[in-house]
């Protein structure tokens, strides 16, 4: 089994990387019960986040009551 060291904030732990053969050092992965189940796509994350930033900017220019 291909194991890797995964860092979560200030702690590290071993996780099995067999389900993410494309993952390399420096990549971000989603880990579940000791197994990496996906490699986070920086491109997809950036694309989604860009959309979210636009939504936030639109909201800021028309401020509303907050709870």
């Amino acid at each position: 089994m291909r194991m890797g060291t995964v860092r979560f904030g200030g702690v590290t732990r071993q996780a099995c990387l067999d389900f993410v053969p494309e993952a390399q050092c420096g990549d971000y992965v989603i880990v579940h019960v000791g197994f990496a189940i996906s490699r986070v796509s920086p491109e997809e994350a950036e694309r989604t986040y860009e959309l979210l930033r636009q939504i936030q900017e639109a909201d800021e220019s028309a401020p509303e009551e907050r709870p």
């Binding site: 860092r7 979560f8 904030g9 200030g10 702690v11 590290t12 732990r13 880990v31 019960v33």
Partner: protein, 346 residues
């Protein structure tokens, strides 16, 4: 002619034997070679069955605690220092300066003598840091398999100064809730040692004696209502106890809670909520609103209060319940733990 007497002294063994708890020569050797050199003080050195203390009249605070932590040694402390500071802190939360401690050991047959020496020396250093003598004690040994290395009980006596009246039942609506520093360091340190997590950076147990911090708090304000140290069950349990005993509500703000990154990361991985993780060198002080700034400033000036934060207030609504204002502007309950905190599986 003189009877033959074996001239060789009884050497300290490598491991603890049943005989070390039986009150005979092995027990005496343990006392002379491990406990007395470490804890030495005039009262203990008398080796009576009891220590007699001359105390001024007043209110005597009296507390006991047993320590069964596993692993025995961890970043930031060990079972020995924990046993001293834990009991000193229980006294301090009542406003009592520590007078004297007792230390009772239950050792498992086969326990490493080197480890015992390490624990005892750590206790001696801790007691020295506090300036409190360990004046009496006891040692028992149980068969292999009937203990877990070492269990320690410490009992403490302290004097409460006149006019100091701290109680979990004292909190009143309008009071400020002040936390002395970061949450979860001790519990996460222990858990990560057991769960095969490696700690990077500076996460370590916050085990420390709080009596001098308590002293500056009491000097800063004469009307402190409550002080508690959030140990087992974490801040959430402590605040719930206070809310219940005071018949008041407590409202805190999530963004005000100091939590170190390493603790955050470990909590994410283990599925834990830092509010429920044990602390061993932190306290919660509840003070009338008018005294909050003075107490807060005094805490911040003290090394153990450098990260102190005003985290919320006591409220009249929802008596007995603790609520938390989330970063999203919503409110949720901070409940009591039903039992052990169990991690999520999905």
């Amino acid at each position: 002619m003189n009877a033959f007497v074996c001239p060789a002294p009884i050497a300290v063994q490598d491991t603890v034997l049943l005989g070390h708890g039986s009150g005979g020569k092995l027990s005496a050797a343990l006392l002379q070679q491990i406990f007395l050199p470490a804890f030495h003080n005039p009262l203990l050195n008398r080796l009576e069955d009891q220590a007699v203390l001359d105390v001024e009249s007043g209110r005597l605070a009296f507390t006991t605690d047993s320590f069964v932590v596993k692993p025995l040694f961890f970043p930031g402390g060990d079972i020995g220092s924990l046993a001293v500071y834990g009991t000193v802190n229980d006294l301090a939360m009542g406003g009592a300066q520590p007078l004297a401690l007792s230390a009772a050991f239950i050792l498992e047959e086969g326990f490493s003598m080197a480890d015992l020496r390490r624990v005892v020396d750590s206790m001696a250093r801790a007691a020295g840091n506090v300036g409190v003598p360990i004046v009496t004690g006891d040692t028992k040994v149980v068969e292999r398999g009937c203990g877990d290395g070492v269990f320690i009980n410490t009992t403490g006596l302290g004097m409460v100064a006149a006019g100091v009246d701290l109680s979990a039942a004292n909190a009143r609506p309008g009071d400020a809730v002040i936390l002395s520093g970061s949450l979860g360091d001790h519990g996460i340190t222990i858990l990560t040692q057991r769960q095969g997590l490696e700690l990077e950076g500076s996460v370590e147990s916050d085990s420390a004696p709080l009596h001098t911090l308590v002293a500056v708090i009491l000097a800063a304000a004469g009307d402190v209502r409550v002080m508690r140290d959030p140990t087992r069950g974490g801040l959430a349990s402590t605040l719930n106890e206070i809310a219940a005993q005071s018949h008041a509500g407590i409202a805190i703000r999530e963004t005000a809670l100091p939590i170190h990154d390493g603790v955050r990361g470990a909590c994410e991985v283990l599925g834990l909520d830092p509010l429920y993780v044990a602390n061993e060198g932190k306290l919660v002080a509840i003070v009338p609103a008018a005294s909050a700034e003075a107490v807060f400033a005094a805490m911040r000036r003290h090394p153990l209060g450098a990260e102190a934060a005003i985290i919320g207030e006591v409220v009249a609504r929802h008596p007995g319940l603790v609520t938390m204002h989330t970063p999203f502007g919503t409110t949720r309950i901070v409940d009591m733990l039903p039992g052990d905190q169990l991690p999520r599986i999905c």
